[in-house]
Amino acid sequence: MTIDERQRESARPLRPGEGGRAPVVAGGVSFKSVTRHISGIVLEPNVPLFWFAAFLVAVAALCVLAAAIAILLDVGAGTMGNNIPVAWAFPIANYVWWIEIAVGGSLLSSILHLANQSWRNSINRLAEAVTLSGIACAGLFPILHLGRAWILYWTVPYPNTMIIQPNFRSPLVWDVFGIATYGTASVLFWYFDMIPDLASLRDRAASRSAYVVYGVLALGWRGASRHWRLQEKASRLLAGILTPLVFTIHTVVSFDFAISLLPGWHSTIFPPYFVDGAILAGISMVTMMAISLRAHFNLKDVITERHLDNLSKVILTTSVILAYVYVFDPFTSWYSGDRYEMCLVYNRGFGPFAWTFWTFIVLGLGIPQLLWWKVNRTHPKRLFVIALLIVIGMWEERYMLMVTTLSRDFMPSSWANFAATAEDNALLYGSIGLFLVSFLFLTRMLPMISLYEVRELLPFSKPGGGSVK
């Protein structure tokens, strides 16, 4: 079979009943076309209007965030709605939600890398951009929630004249180390994997400034086979180290809750339940971003229906696991015979915050079930709406976890409800602006698709596969 025949073969529409799965990379893609297209997005000022519109909205939201932070630091934590007993509300719900979104990206970049899932090659870089942007937002909220954000460094052990040190038996201190490690590891992994693609940008750069910037960032990459061998080895090592880290990061977040003694939080199911929810929310966010970029930057050849289908299946699987948790959590409460636990289960379903619970049940558990139908898994617009609703539902779930437990603890005399203030809302919507600015910036200034990993997927990349020049 010649190359022409092979390319025609892979480009041919599938006949009914023939496998029925779209290819990972569409036919007709060559080394040159993929390199020129992806590096062109970065190097040629031919950006779609969509990008500017989205960036403008995101920057506006980011300004709202900046103003909200300024007010918070100037006036004080009282501008937020949290108070005793609901001391953890929006900021911690936002924090957990953003970490979830970051963890979903890491799943694609490290766990599926280790599992040799080559379909993730073309959405890997995009998922990492979601991870980094998510971590940036997540890291913000615990700091703002401190009340006195300027003494953040007290959470870090360092020799000081106060002779005071952090309490290492507290999960909140574990979080400091967890997030710092996760952020550092994600940035290093992301940059390391990108070095060969930065060289592609360097070699295509038309302007002197782009040549110098990408040339310095590429560190002198020249595609030597000894370098490729080491690059693959180091990349696999990083993926191997990050895999347990990805699971532990959300486990540690869940410890913030599980190690307390409050009903609804004090439960051994929390670590797996949090990790599963994280994958559900994170992959939904990656799916939304992939669908948007695919449509507006014309990436349908490298982000195919196969990717949408596979991402949908991950969403569906994790939603079913989450449903299992929501069946067994009330069962455990009932089986424990603990009246406070049972009261909490009742309050979730029928208490003052019942609407948050039922919103989550519909959006987070009900909506994903639409993905049992293939027509929803491969239809970009429908899938986008489904993923968006899931992401909203997962925020609702985190909010529900905070308020249902904290507003109704052991003594009815200390019960109090929570109402979000304008400050709370400004911080939440502003952080979405921060996420989008960061994501749009990363995908516009750096290759949004991993070029060398896509080249590896092309049929003629293997020796004996022929040439396409």
Binding site: S30, F31, K32, T35, R36, I163, Q165, N167, F168, R169, V173, W174, F177, G178, A180, T181, T184, A185, L188, F192, P196, S200, R202, D203, R204, V216, L219, G220, W221, R222, G223, A224, S225, R226, H227, W228, R229, L230, Q231, K233, A234, L237, L238, I241, L242, P244, V252, F255, Y452, R455, E456, F460, S461, P463, G464, G465, G466, S467, V468, K469
Partner: protein, 180 residues
Amino acid sequence: MITTAPRPYGIAAEFEDAGQLVAAAKAAHAAGYRRFEGYSPYPIKELSEVIKGWDLLSPIVFFAGVAGAFTGFYMQYFIAAAVYPTNISGKPLNSWQMFTVITFEMAVLFAVVATFFGALFFFGFPAIYHPLFRIPGFKRVSEDGFFLCIEARDGKFHPASTAHFLRSLEPVKVWEVDSE
């Protein structure tokens, strides 16, 4: 000795595709050359089997991880049990079960940093300039170019015979590369 002629870095040849590059590397190895390197836009497993690399990355990462775990645990033990002993709900001062999380995080942090900088060390990076960058068209190595370069430090290297050998492999083109 002062010479005016530039020292050669090696002789490079460009090939059509991955298959030709791997075949050329095998031929160069069979002809007795040892100091040569293939350049490609993506990793080619078969090429790495001919051109064998060497590094100590795995042991470095392992020991960095162990060092991180020790650092993490000792930091907590030192602070919680010696420098700043605090009674937290009657738990023993060395409540090591509670120290496992940060011990793990520190092990991961050290291992990741060691992998990153260890890999850069064995790459020899940063090395912004390289003699091969002077080949016109070498830019295609990050797109669809496949190159093989036999280096001058190879004992069997000879400007004329090596160039002749490379031409016999039917490349697209052959270049002499100066090291300056």
